[in-house]
Symmetry: C2
Subunit: 362 residues, 2 copies
Amino acid sequence: MTRPPSRKATSQDVADLAGVSRSAVSLVLNGRGDGNIAPDKQAAIRAAAAQLEYEPNPSAVSLRSSRTRTLGVVTDAIASTAYGGDLLRGASEAAERSGHLLVLVDTHYEEQREADAYRTLRGRRVDGLLFAAMSLREYAVPEAATGVPFALANCYDPAAPQVPAFVADEVAGGRAAARLLLDAGHRDVVLLAGARDAVASTLREDGVRAELAAAGHALRTVETGWEISDGVAAATTVLTGPDRPTGLVCANDRVAVGAVLAANRLGLDVPGDLSVVGYDDDAALAAPMVPALTTIALPHRQIGEAAVARVLDDLATDPSAAGGARRTGHGTVLVPCPVVVRDSVAPPRRRASRQRAGSPSR
Amino acid sequence: MTRPPSRKATSQDVADLAGVSRSAVSLVLNGRGDGNIAPDKQAAIRAAAAQLEYEPNPSAVSLRSSRTRTLGVVTDAIASTAYGGDLLRGASEAAERSGHLLVLVDTHYEEQREADAYRTLRGRRVDGLLFAAMSLREYAVPEAATGVPFALANCYDPAAPQVPAFVADEVAGGRAAARLLLDAGHRDVVLLAGARDAVASTLREDGVRAELAAAGHALRTVETGWEISDGVAAATTVLTGPDRPTGLVCANDRVAVGAVLAANRLGLDVPGDLSVVGYDDDAALAAPMVPALTTIALPHRQIGEAAVARVLDDLATDPSAAGGARRTGHGTVLVPCPVVVRDSVAPPRRRASRQRAGSPSR
DNA sequence: CTGAAAGCGCTTACAG
DNA sequence: CTGAAAGCGCTTACAG
């Protein structure tokens, strides 16, 4: 009891207090007491452990087990985006449930840092590895990431389709976005498509086009960027041009905000004169927007959860995994995108004459 | 050389390959070779280490040194916000520079999770601890956070002023925001103040008011929330009421976006008819907005960096810190908020008659 | 049913 | 200048 309070108790301290050996302490605290240790001694051990607030030294446990109960997460920039946090949240909750902790390295898109990140993490002897992308993209799994259970979140490697990868079902999301407008009665839809070099925009466009086509309608597409300003510019062009559409599907919520902004500046009301569908369900933008944005959510949290679950599963399945996982072909899994209905979609107003600019509807 | 490639090399492997003892390997690789080990043997050891890609097992090192080279970060929700990422980025870069890694636990504002978070992290024997708040607030340092170097980022404990705390200088930020408008020639300024219960809004308001007062002007204040929709509502009221101001200081960029939205709906141009200053320099909003928002940036990255540097410093200073830090009174440090000039502020238009709604200025 | 011993991989006195 | 030994805290065969 003269142990200074600042020093953490060891199993020896517990053994001394309970009057048993360290082995007994270990057995009991690891649930292998029954049949090995007398019940009263078990109770004494537990009591001593509780009194001393004993927690096994993880370095010692790791040294013995060659497991660190730690998962490495390398991300391209995910800690710097609002919805990236959701992915991390799903991941860390899944990890925590099984007693694992996440160690995060953010590379901010710098190639050099990425190589270092894997090296650092492997050096730390993480039990598994994850690469999480800020937004959907292709990703070439580097050599440094192999030899340990590994999964991809929000990205996939076309050259290594057997690597477990968890991505949003963007095509279905695009279909859902179009369906929202179709169900409200829109026929005349333009897609503010985002940047063409992003795979998400291509996939979403495929979905929107397919759904519209199935209903017998053509789709007009305008390539944009991903920012509010891109939405303003593109929407201004579309809304002042010929054949003004009654509905807009936007590449993401930021573009949708830009579209609303542009509409307002032109004296057009959303959703009265124009319906707008966003994408992402960005917490800072979609719900708080006026009008609140109807949008397609990205299942980032589930993606994070599923990716960690997979790594943990591989770890449990393959006892030798910590030293070099063998993976069999499993491939990419598509996680559905929930539809979030709010206030930016309404039936198209009967097209009479062009709405007069300058009569804001509220 | 028959070592399977999946097994990581140990110092024994290196010693065998170099033909020396493990001690020699340790000495050389830890920079204490000179004067102890013959130069040619040193070279042999380094070569062997490189060839085997030897990396010391961190569990073994930790067990011996009782240092994990790991810092625990508990956050209230920081991983779920865009600018929270900046804080984490600053923190992890500072940590990395000295060979430390960050382990992050996000509590999502759940009290219970917070207690668990500290417990988990302490159980992992982190060398130091940080609490990082998503936005400026007071924070009662819990018992579980003591006994190890500790710092607060983006928050402070009024009951424990000696705890190192790093926060933005919001008063100076508020002054700077007002100064921007004053310098452009505005006299008639309204503050869309955010929620009154937040300490940031109070501090910013003090700054704005002080700067205006020093110039001989009064300040009108409207309490709002923090979201786009709050900005829309408040700005609509202010802009349609008597004594329409020529300049608006907004509690944050989201409110500023709402203010611009409201102005546009009323047919008012920003910055032609109304100047708007934001706060936060939110990456998704400020620069991409149309017009790009002039705003006051939050120095989140520096805050994260400084907090980690402080913990690391305490760790280095106090050799017994890992087991129970003794801290002397240091208190809170204010980090300045940079001014970011973009396009949402202009000189006030000579007040003639009210600008006609419905003539968008571009 | 229980305790003594070995060993995970490292570093640091301590002998030679 | 170098190697053998001890020990960090744990768990798991292995004797008793």
